[in-house]
């Protein structure tokens, strides 16, 4: 299962960014292979509006199954759901804490 987290960091102890659409990058964790991939999102941040929509498009194209974030606007939600991505809203501060809290470490 591929899980994405909005974050500026590059490992599982990184902090989850509060605003989904303004994340500098997305960390994708593959629960099967345990591999980590980083997708840069900075190109989308210069837009005046619609950053959530564009960020959702960018991360959906990486073929993820789940998105874990602290909040997600209605249009970004719409994009993710259209791409068959499950959204988990968390209040855990780091990626590893969120994986544990939501039982995500299973294939």
């Amino acid at each position: 299962m591929k899980i994405a987290f909005p974050t500026a960091g590059d490992n599982l102890n990184s902090v989850i960014e509060g605003v989904f659409g303004r994340a500098k990058s997305f960390l994708i964790f593959d629960t099967e292979t345990k591999e980590i991939k980083i997708i840069d999102n900075t190109a989308n941040l210069s837009a005046a509006h619609g950053v959530g929509i564009k960020s959702a498009e960018t991360v959906s194209k990486a073929g993820i199954d789940v998105m874990v974030c602290m909040n997600c606007g209605p249009k970004a939600q719409d994009v993710l759901e259209s791409a068959d991505v499950k959204i988990i809203v968390t209040d855990e501060s780091t990626i590893s804490k969120a994986i544990e809290k939501h039982n995500l470490n299973k294939v």
């Binding site: 959906s60 994009v79 259209s82 791409a83």
Partner: protein, 276 residues
């Protein structure tokens, strides 16, 4: 002649100035209410409704059979209104600025649909024509409706644009191309802060302008000092007079009921004509 009444900060008195100037003008006047999110000139001008039309913009519609999900349209769109996912394309028409960029589609898969933006209502009261733009609730694309309102600028007489507040796209659309801008401000730190932004904007757009200070006898001298230092003409000063507030709250202008304000607004009009 075409003038705009504008301000950085909202609530400084644009509508008061625009409507009072319209009332004392000697020539036929066309007042264009470009504050399309919340137009209110109609309360002060009254008159009969003589025309009402819908204004629409074209937004894209994607034919799923022809679309190959190549993403060329999404790459082109600067407003993130078209999103290409592996299995479908989504259009968010509320984000669309109707730039026409859908023509980049290499497979001719995009057609357009009209989307209602708002309405233009035209009122006439004697020699005064009021052209009012009103954005449909839920829409945010003011500039396109403002430019439709401005198509009603008359070749005869005086045209007064009541601009929306602020210094972003709607305000720029409203003031571009005018002969003169009256910046209405108040003598407070907030007033001064937003006035500076407006001045910078008008200088960039190479528009001629002057400043009018409302509630001039209260607050501080920051605005006066700023205008003095930059050589910006102060066209008029209106004191903080409860009679103006009372008239405003009743939907009345003051030039017909208080002679000193009839004089003040006539002098303001002369100064505008002299400086434009």
């Amino acid at each position: 002649m075409l003038i705009a009444i504008a301000s950085g900060k909202g609530g400084t008195g644009k509508t008061t100035v625009a409507c009072n100037l319209a009332r004392i003008a000697k020539t036929p006047v066309t007042l264009l209410d470009c504050d399309v999110e919340e137009p209110n000139d109609a309360f002060f001008i009254g008159g009969d409704l003589i025309d009402q039309t819908d204004v629409s913009i074209e937004t894209p519609s994607v034919n799923d059979q022809l679309c190959t999900k190549c993403g060329v349209c999404s790459d082109f769109c600067k407003y993130n209104a078209i999103i290409t996912l592996p299995k479908k394309v989504i259009v968010y028409d509320e984000m669309c600025h109707s730039c026409g960029g859908w023509i980049v589609c290499p497979h001719d898969a995009i057609t357009t649909n009209p989307k209602k933006l708002g309405e233009i209502s035209i009122f006439r009261n004697g020699e005064t024509t009021l052209v009012q733009g009103q954005l449909k609730i839920g829409n945010v694309m003011s500039p396109q409706l403002i430019s439709s309102v401005k198509k009603h600028i008359s070749v005869n007489g005086l045209n007064i644009i009541d601009a929306p507040p602020g210094n972003t796209c709607p305000a720029i659309e409203a003031v571009d191309g005018v002969d003169y801008v009256v910046l209405v401000t108040e003598p407070t730190p907030f007033g001064l802060h937003d006035l500076k932004l407006s001045v910078a904007l008008l200088e960039r757009r190479a528009l001629r302008f002057g400043v009018m200070i409302n509630r001039s006898d209260i607050g501080d001298d920051g605005v006066e000092k700023f205008c003095d230092a930059k050589g910006i003409p102060i066209l008029a000063r209106i004191p903080n007079d409860m009679r103006i507030a009372r008239a405003y709250s009743m939907g009345d202008t003051v030039v017909q009921s208080i002679p000193e304000y009839a004089d003040l607004f006539r002098q303001l009009m002369s100064r505008i004509e002299g400086n434009a």
